[in-house]
């Protein structure tokens, strides 16, 4: 692939600039300090400790959040066990479902507040929080609510029953959505929950706790304990937990799987990815370019199923890369609360450091880097959308998950070569295929070892659609009918 400049260039530096269009944050209520949500109310942590949660776009403190220690976790599990034994497992399933419907409705009613806080606390563009995270979170509760009294039909002849108390640990990339993704099926299947949000993004989970309280969900059915990795570890190691659901890095997932060995606890793991997004010469190229953008720059690339490896057929490689670079020039980077922002802030200083180390590594290994030239704000954590060309399969930026807006571009000649490159990874979460030819979609889709195949699209999610990985991308599925089994004991 030549990376030479195209003969005729377009200019996106225009006389017509969009004026700032910030979403007003006035509507969002954030308390100065949050306790742990245990037994239906916010309580002070036994640890007595709190930590700051900041806005990664400004580095300003938004609130203080309780740091749960092992005692706090123990307390939460005890309360969840009580709620399971005394209330939730005895409730008629249809009534259980109605509580979940109620939660879905309240999220919809408060959608704007959720979107604003999600954007403030996590750095994601308000457009994404508003159009994707929050509506999907509500949809997850809606979808699963209806399952509560229909589980016998999902698993015929298997007498489904709840597993008991489930511990759930969620990441910082989709804080509210992941909470919904975890809590909704757990409740629908009759379990009670202790959920630990990610350290840097606790606020929307705590706002969800308010929703749960306002929905009059029986006390103790959902408990939320905030804290860092040690809180999560206490949850994983607690003896009275029946199941762990974890979404996060493969390294931590591995530790969890290891530490759960021999305990008899069920677990599901949603881990990392390094998905190949394959563009064939007969693809709808303009839509494919947009698909590449969505695949890697959605949510600043903080997406486990991101299409972080672009495989493009040699005969269209120049065309695709040219278009991609020009498209990148129209991405708007900056204030996450601005309704026109496409690329928000990197979630934390630590993550930015990790991404930057890969940018350096990529260049040191001989790849050629291209970045959007847009100026980023002076405060906060920012990484402009980045491409690497002249990349080989052996490069770290091809093999390792960067979890940032960084795309490694490789070319291929034949279908078999594309499949082979796509599968040459320890991960197997997702894959993209772009071609106008139906039979090729089925062939490539079948041969990519990954749990989700996006053909002529990318990064689509729906509560009815099972999600989860092959290989080191995880164990089990979440969402859809197939995701329910993780929260049930089956004959």
């Amino acid at each position: 692939m030549s990376t030479g400049e195209p003969a005729h260039k377009l200019n996106y530096d225009t006389r017509w600039e969009y004026s700032p269009a910030p979403e007003s944050a006035d509507h969002a209520r954030i308390d100065e300090q949050y306790g742990l949500f245990i037994g239906g109310k916010f309580v002070a942590p036994k640890s007595g400790e709190y930590f700051n949660t900041i806005n990664p776009a400004t580095e300003k403190v938004l609130s203080r959040v309780a740091a749960a220690n092992a005692d706090d976790v123990n307390n939460a599990v005890k309360v969840a066990r009580g709620a399971y034994e005394n209330v939730w497992s005895k409730m008629r399933p249809a009534e259980r479902g109605k509580y979940i419907f109620r939660i879905a409705r309240i999220i919809q009613e408060r959608s704007r507040e959720f979107a604003i806080i999600e954007s403030l606390d996590g750095g994601k563009p308000i457009r994404e929080a508003r159009d994707i995270d929050v509506p999907l979170a509500a949809a997850h509760f809606f979808y699963h609510a209806g399952w509560a009294d229909k589980l016998d039909y999902a698993f015929p002849c298997r007498s489904p029953s709840p597993v008991g108390v489930v511990g759930q640990i969620i990441p910082w990339n989709f804080p509210l959505l992941m909470a919904a993704w975890k809590i909704a099926p757990a409740l629908a299947c009759g379990n009670t929950v202790v959920l630990k949000p990610a350290e840097t993004t606790s606020l929307t989970a705590l706002k969800l706790a308010e929703v749960i309280r306002d929905a009059d969900l029986p006390k103790g059915v959902v408990n939320i304990v905030t804290g860092d990795g040690s809180t999560g570890s206490a949850l994983v190691q607690h003896n009275d937990i029946n199941k762990i659901a974890f979404t996060g890095s493969t390294d931590v997932g591995r530790l969890i799987q290891h530490s759960l060995a021999g305990t008899g606890k069920k677990y599901t793991l949603e881990l990392g990815g390094k998905a190949a997004n394959i563009i064939f010469a007969d693809a709808p190229i303009d839509q494919a370019v947009e698909g590449i953008i969505n695949a890697i720059f959605f949510n600043q690339g903080h997406v486990c199923c991101a299409g972080s490896r672009l495989l493009v057929q040699e005969s269209v490689a120049d065309q695709v890369v040219t278009k991609l670079k020009e498209r990148m020039q129209t991405l708007i980077i900056g204030d996450p609360l601005d309704k026109n922002t496409d690329i928000g802030a990197i979630n934390s200083a630590a993550q930015l450091e990790r991404i930057n180390s890969y940018l350096e590594l990529g260049q040191n290994e001989g790849a050629e880097m291209f970045q959007c030239t847009t100026k980023t704000p002076d405060f906060g954590f920012w990484c402009p959308p980045t491409l690497f060309t002249q990349v080989a399969q052996s490069h770290s930026i091809v093999r390792e998950e960067v979890f940032g807006p960084v795309l490694a571009i490789q070319t291929f000649r034949t279908v078999d070569e594309a499949i082979s490159k796509a599968n040459n990874t320890q991960y197997g979460l997702s894959g993209g295929v772009w071609t106008d030819k139906g039979s090729k979609i089925f062939n490539v889709g079948k041969n990519i070892r990954a749990g989700v195949i996006w053909a002529n699209t990318f990064n689509k999610f729906d509560p009815t659609s099972p999600f989860g990985g092959y290989k080191e991308s995880g164990v089990g599925r979440e969402g859809g009918l197939h995701g329910l089994s993780a929260y049930l004991n089956l004959d």
Partner: protein, 318 residues
């Protein structure tokens, strides 16, 4: 390692003592009172490993003894090494793509063919079962149950997909469906007491679902499994789809659980220490761990538990 070895030796010793207590033997050996001039020396069978459609001896050249119900020596079994296991995984990996891409119809035909071949050699398998302690009627019953089990799963190959797959009604303009795909290469630790039926119940649902595997036969009762290899070999089962090792479980269990190119490990049994060890080792590559308790009901769930779910999205438009 020393401790482990010690433990194994103790366990082995225990097994030997246990089998000495058994009374009857079914495999005929030359009786002492036959006149020398009429005596015919029986040709004993050499039991070997089954790897990649071939019957090699263990590369380690080690063996261990299988004793009959009366305590007499029945056979020298190969004591497979970790290198044998490695070879077997290579074979299973090589066979994986074509076996998982074989049509469900063909897989069904092949499973049925195994049943046919087994039926034809029912007496041999019954005799082997008797040799290791089963009563004649129990042995006959087990062989017929094993044949029927194969027929049962032969009939599932082109049906389980219809039961477990789904079209998912997503809210956007996309066609979205989920199907099952085999997990890939599976290592199988057969039940300690696994005889013929046990082995077939362990293996049939896995290959019915398009997986390829390496099975470690029961340490104390490996005869049926390794004889079954001969049946598989003559039943159109492609080389490498089923690989069978014999040997010391304690020596191999860690390899079975930790190998980075194995996608799942199936454990049959209830030894909590072994389960813990397997689950710990499996974390190395986020291997799926499937624990099967004794007496698991046959059914399509035995197939689906060793399957991945793949979900595909495609736009609906002009």
């Amino acid at each position: 390692m020393d401790k482990k070895n010690q433990k194994r030796t103790t366990r082995n010793a225990k097994q030997k003592t246990a089998s000495k207590k058994a009374v009857s033997t079914k495999i005929k050996r030359p009786a002492v009172d036959t006149p020398v001039e009429k005596a015919r020396l029986q040709v004993n069978k050499t039991y070997k490993l089954y790897i990649n459609g071939k019957f090699p001896r263990t590369e380690s050249a080690r063996y261990y003894n299988i004793l009959g119900a009366d305590g007499s020596m029945i056979a020298n079994m190969c004591r497979a090494s970790r290198k044998d296991f490695r070879e077997a995984v290579l074979a299973a990996r090589k066979a994986q793509l074509s076996w998982s891409n074989a049509s469900a119809y063909l897989r069904g035909q092949i499973l049925y063919r195994i049943a046919e071949m087994l039926e034809g050699r029912a007496d041999q398998f019954a005799a082997e079962l008797c040799a290791t302690g089963a009563s004649k009627s129990a042995a006959a019953k087990e062989v017929t149950a094993a044949i029927d089990c194969l027929v049962y799963y032969a009939g599932w190959t082109d049906k389980y997909q219809q039961i477990f797959s789904s079209v998912n009604p997503v809210a956007s303009s996309h066609f979205n469906f989920s199907i099952l795909e085999p997990m890939g290469v599976i290592s199988v630790l057969c039940a300690p007491k696994s005889s013929l039926l046990g082995f077939i119940s362990d293996v049939a649902p896995l290959i019915a679902g398009g997986n390829t595997l390496v099975a470690l036969a029961s340490e104390s009762a490996p005869l049926s499994a390794i004889s079954l290899a001969e049946v598989l070999h003559s039943s159109d089962v492609p080389a490498g789809v089923v690989n069978i090792l014999t040997g010391y479980r304690a020596e191999l269990v860690e390899q079975f659980a930790s190998h980075m190119d194995v996608n799942a490990v199936v454990y049959n049994g209830d030894d909590t220490e072994e389960i813990k060890l397997i689950e710990e080792q499996a974390a190395a590559n986020i291997k799926r761990v499937i624990i099967r308790r004794q007496g698991a009901k046959p059914g399509p769930y035995q197939i689906s538990q060793a399957q991945e779910v793949k979900t595909t999205w495609h736009p609906i438009g002009n």
